[in-house]
Amino acid sequence: MKVLMFGWEFPPHNSGGLGTACYGITKALSEKGVEINFVLPRNFGIEEKFLNVIYTRLPKIKMNEVDSLLIAYLNSMSYRKVFLSIEDRKNAENYCGDLIQEVYRYAQVAKEIASEVEHDIIHTHDWMTFPSGIEARRASKKPLLSHVHSTEYDRSGGHGVNPIVFEIEKNGIQEADRVLTVSNFTKNKIIDNYHVESSKIDIIYNAINKSDFNNACFSKNDNFRKTKIVLFLGRLTLHKGPDNFLKAAKKVLDKNKKVIFVISGSGDMNNQIIEQAADLGIADRVLFTGFLRGGDLKNIYKIADLYVMPSVSEPFGITSLEAVASGTPVLISKQSGVSEILNHCLRVDFWDIDDMANKILSVVNYDELGECLSSNGLSEVDKFTWDNAADEIIKSYNAVVNPNKRIAI
């Protein structure tokens, strides 16, 4: 079976879970005999043996602050922030045009690729690639799968959904022969907001390659460290809930001073969060590391005594599996996809600051709680493999592909 896949980012050039998921999915699929041509909008210099990568050589857009809009997680809030920060309103409008135009230029190139590259199925990842999928399908008449890793409703935190992005997402979902999504949580959002039938949507839970996080550079039980570390790791945007994390931190520190809160990541709320820590009078207990990747990312998971994912709306939340695979207990928002499959964790409603603080305090005060979460979590994540996810994706492929191209699982 030959798959023509359209992506937007890929490790190590990723800014979040989308790239991680694309890597896990394509690797596991190729190990099962699926041949993948993976299309990316720009040359990232990727040298993965399991993939044939095609770059579209789209003209590179000029950077600086505008650059932040070129990540996979454009949302209307960050968009508006940048929009307002650009003094020349006309320029800002031009910019908006540029981004959407890039998505459509990508689609034009996709059409050409689809007529040149042999394939049985088209598989797209999130809205930036949906127009490409539709154009490719038009060109080759092959079945289209739109994979929804997050929706505009998640990225905007429910406020100010960008109508253009919404339209693109809606078309991609409605035109697709099948829709893949990362959780039941997101499936319901798609049904409610994009009006597709439940029977057209398959849930493909994300997974984790546990051995990637088994490095033992740091031990939590280092004697020199009596202070507990509570970690937030994610983009500093509204839908990730960093503000609630700080409010909970304040309540924790009122009861226990020996806790340090580490915030890893960057985003449009960067300055706001730094100011909020100062306003709450806890700036000396909050550390900002900026965006981490590679060895630093793995180490910060390991060092932490608790990972908190307080997202307002989290389609999946792959970082919490990374923390669990690192042996770190996790406290996750109930408004997340991962909470549907992970049992050995603590859960909280994203808005319930008291309960968040209660649970953070329980972990930092009672080592036995963290021990149980950590050891049980480490065995539980063995279940969440990309190999299983690939099996589920192949089932979805088999449902729409020409029957003689089906792959046995």
Binding site: H344, C345, K359, S362, Y366, E368, L369, E371, C372
Partner: protein, 402 residues
Amino acid sequence: MPSICFYFQVHQPYRIKKYSVFDIGQDHKYFDDENLNEKCNRAVIKKVAQKCYIPTTKVLLDLVHRHPEFKISFSFSGTVLEQLEEYSPEALELFQRLVRTGNVEILDETYYHSLSFFYSDEEFVRQVKMHREKVKKLFNYKPKVFRNTELSYNNELGVLVEKLGYDGIITEGWERYMGDRSPNFVYRPKGANKIKLLLKNYKLSDDVAFRFSNKGWAEYPLYASKFTQWINSINGSGQTINLFMDYETFGEHQWEDSGIFNFLRALPTEVLKHPDNNFKTPSEVIASYDCVDDMDIHNVLTWADTERDLSAWTGNSMQKSSLKKIYELEEDVINSEDISIQEDWRKLQTSDHFYYMCTKWFSDGDVHKYFSPYDSPYEAFISFINVLNDFRFRLDVVKSNL
């Protein structure tokens, strides 16, 4: 020839409400959930009374009238008796009527359905005495046979319970200790002189308690006639068939539409069709049959799970730490002579609190989940440990005022 010996366990704990770190020092009512949701103690008691205690006890009253030879035994935890007095006097009255028929034996246990025997002999004996007094007060009855929480047992318990004056004690009939011996005879606990040991026939008991409504079970559906054939087939190779189970089997674990009440209604008639069969209470079994052998149970045996040990209560570090912390307070609590301190301390000893923290099979989402009022074992631990902190704070205040 076998005697059928029924024992039903009636127990409900005082569940701890969702209790946050911010409640410490503010709220000392650990067991009253003012939201009165469907998992609060009052609601659970009322539901179980409606589904099980009231209808099942009515069936048994009827059976005793129709078959004067029909005998049964009960063990009631002190915590369920207290809650019945408060939330379901109707169920309690039915139990009292049933006991007055004289066809019922009541067993003793620890008042707070605790694991105190494994942590403090003194506290264990105090709770046994409290239970004796409660049974005397509510039923005007003096138990002669003892059962420990979750049928937990070892040689030392047999010896101690003999010293307390009991004629018998009951536990699980488990191959690991029985070897090729049968649970259908009476044994002597190793190290004891007079007391007799009755062993649960877990195969036949679990056919009713666990498998009755399981449509995947080869023997489904189970009728009283078929069950009686199994009993009759034991004839000659056993003297007593001990059918020990939770009373909630009837109507709560096995729902009414499974036919469990019809099964119970029909069973005495079927059993008594065979002239050699009879029903006996544990004391009658003890009086009728001699011990055939010593039984050496050196490790802790329980009736729980496939492991038949205490691991569902003491298996992980949250459980171990919670139990250690609660029993560490014993001396201060007893010295405080403060009634509400002592009562709360004992309510916190009820084994269910530690069972809710069990993580053994949590990934598979099994039976343990069904019985827990919490979303996860971790939530159970968090509420417990916060309550314990508030309790310690109260205890310190009382201590400093002494």
